[in-house]
């Protein structure tokens, strides 16, 4: 009889998609939340409100904002970005400037909005010589005037972090509202909303924060109000026919995901204690990985041409001669036990500028939980595949 394939040690290298394992304490916090008796009035666990407020407090520190009520907790970053685009009240003929680095969670709601707002113009600015935003092209786009400038802070394909302050300075000079997608940066690089001139910041709990899926972050600066995209029950003010207007309730309709909030709180608490050493470890291991991949004949590391001073989050995309990315992913996973992502990474526009269209890349994204043996195993696997 044919013998079954030898079991492999699985090595997880896909933290840019979903941080794994969950930060210590997260699973336990979620299990405890799942066991809590719901409050008779709100229908959610008694401590859920406490978890939400604790999350807001931690996020306010991370975002450098004084008023935690300006932070709404959503069902995810996609939910938050839909709230942004549908809530900004863009008029016919509005102009949105964005970039080719954007994720589909930004691009698709914009596309959908474009089918409903007559004459909506969306200008995606290309990559500059540093691999982030072409500032010349951005300024040219802004000369036409812009209502919104939306920016992916850190590319989930290249790992490069854009100079958001420089982009948003130009945006502000043109009178635009600024939207920052910090899904791939929050937890690893500073995301101080005021410093970066970001009116709106969106993030998620399940990537670099190593929290659970099902929870997103939507910060809206004082003085800017989004029209609620989703209205309904709030567990309070049942006498009101209209949805309560004050933040964060304004953008938090429906029963909150109490279990996920408990998990996010635990993740944020852990990050506050360990983030200072854990984050540099992830970046250090990714540097080793990037350099090692670049030395393998037949391997091209994407975005490696970036200037050394450009900040990066811990991920590296690459292509291997003779292997389609999808095949590469199959081989890495099934023959070598390496779990990574391949393809376009939900960022379809960036690949033309990177020379990786139409098939995309393979992507390793280690974390602070990835150890040196994992890095060496990844490099050895790619050496064998390239050889």
């Amino acid at each position: 009889m044919p013998t079954p394939a030898e079991p492999l040690r699985r090595i997880y290298m896909n933290n840019a998609a979903n941080g794994w394992p969950l930060a210590p304490g997260v699973a336990e916090a979620m299990a405890a939340a799942a066991q809590r008796m719901p409050d008779a009035r709100t229908g959610v666990a008694v401590d859920a409100a406490g978890d939400a407020e604790a999350c807001r407090a931690s996020l306010a520190c991370l975002l450098g904002v004084a008023d935690r009520s300006r932070i709404a907790l959503t069902a995810g970053a996609t939910h938050a970005l839909n709230a942004v685009w549908w809530g900004l009240g863009l008029k016919p003929g509005a102009h949105v400037v964005t970039t080719v680095s954007e994720h589909n969670s930004m691009l698709r709601p914009l596309h959908h909005l474009g089918q409903r707002v007559e004459g909506l113009r969306v200008t995606p600015v290309g990559l500059g010589s540093d691999g982030t935003v072409d500032m010349g092209e951005l300024r040219a786009a802004l000369r036409d005037g812009a209502d919104v400038v939306a920016l992916n802070h850190a590319s989930n394909v290249t790992g490069l972090v854009a100079d958001a302050r420089e982009v948003f300075q130009a945006a502000k000079a043109a009178g635009a509202v600024t939207v920052l997608d910090a899904c791939q940066s929050l937890g690893h690089v500073p995301v101080l909303a005021g410093e970066l001139l970001a009116d709106i910041v969106v993030a998620t709990g399940h990537k670099l924060l190593h929290g659970p899926t099902g929870v997103g972050v939507l910060y809206v600066s004082q003085g800017l109000e989004l029209e609620p995209w989703l209205v309904g029950g709030t567990g309070a003010r049942s006498d009101l026919v209209a949805h309560p207007p004050e933040m964060p309730t304004r953008l938090e309709a429906g029963t909150p995901n109490a279990v996920a909030l408990a998990g996010l709180r635990a993740a944020l608490d852990w990050q506050a204690v360990r983030g200072g050493t854990w984050v540099p470890e992830a970046c250090s291991r990714c540097r080793v990985l990037r350099r090692g991949l670049a030395e393998i004949p037949g391997v091209r590391v994407v975005g490696d041409e970036a200037l050394p001073c450009v900040m990066r989050v811990p991920l590296v995309s690459f292509v291997v001669e003779g292997w389609d990315p999808e095949e590469l992913g199959f081989a890495l996973a099934e023959s070598f036990g390496l779990v990574c992502r391949t393809g376009l990474h939900c960022a379809p526009l960036i690949h033309a500028g990177l020379g990786t269209a139409p098939l995309g890349t393979a992507r390793f994204s280690p974390s602070g939980f990835t150890d040196d043996a994992d890095i060496e195993a990844a490099l050895e696997a790619v050496r064998r595949l390239a050889g």
Binding site: M1, P2, A5, L8, E326, E327, F330, E334, G343, P358
Partner: protein, 113 residues
């Protein structure tokens, strides 16, 4: 070898059809070698879990791990039915009940069959 299940997979890239077959038995070296002649067959016996990839003359791409009872197909945009039928017919003609196990012969490169 016979196909027991056919599962359509969601592909990230270009919407091309990706399919996973569940087979009635696991792949052996003999079973893999029997696919030669359908196109370009590469057998990576030196990988920790040996695998193969096949590109048929009709544009079908097949990958599988030796010892597993599944394989992954990427169908061509045109002529996918014919390409898949050709592969399924070849599978039906493969007999792997001699228990032969493949594996590495010491070489560190792919064997092109």
């Amino acid at each position: 070898m016979r196909v027991h299940t056919r599962e359509v997979l969601e592909d990230c890239v270009d919407g091309s059809l990706a399919v996973r077959y569940g087979m009635d038995e696991a792949w052996t070296r003999d079973g893999i070698v029997a696919l030669a002649g359908l196109g370009r067959l590469e057998y990576f016996a030196h990988f920790p879990r040996p695998m193969f990839r096949l590109r048929t003359g009709l544009g079908l791409e097949v990958k599988a791990v030796e010892g597993e009872d599944t394989c992954r197909l990427t169908l061509p945009r045109n002529g996918s039915a014919e390409a898949e039928r050709q592969f399924a017919d070849r599978l039906a003609g493969i007999r792997t009940d001699d228990g032969t196990k493949g594996g590495c012969d010491g070489s560190q490169t792919a064997e092109v069959l």
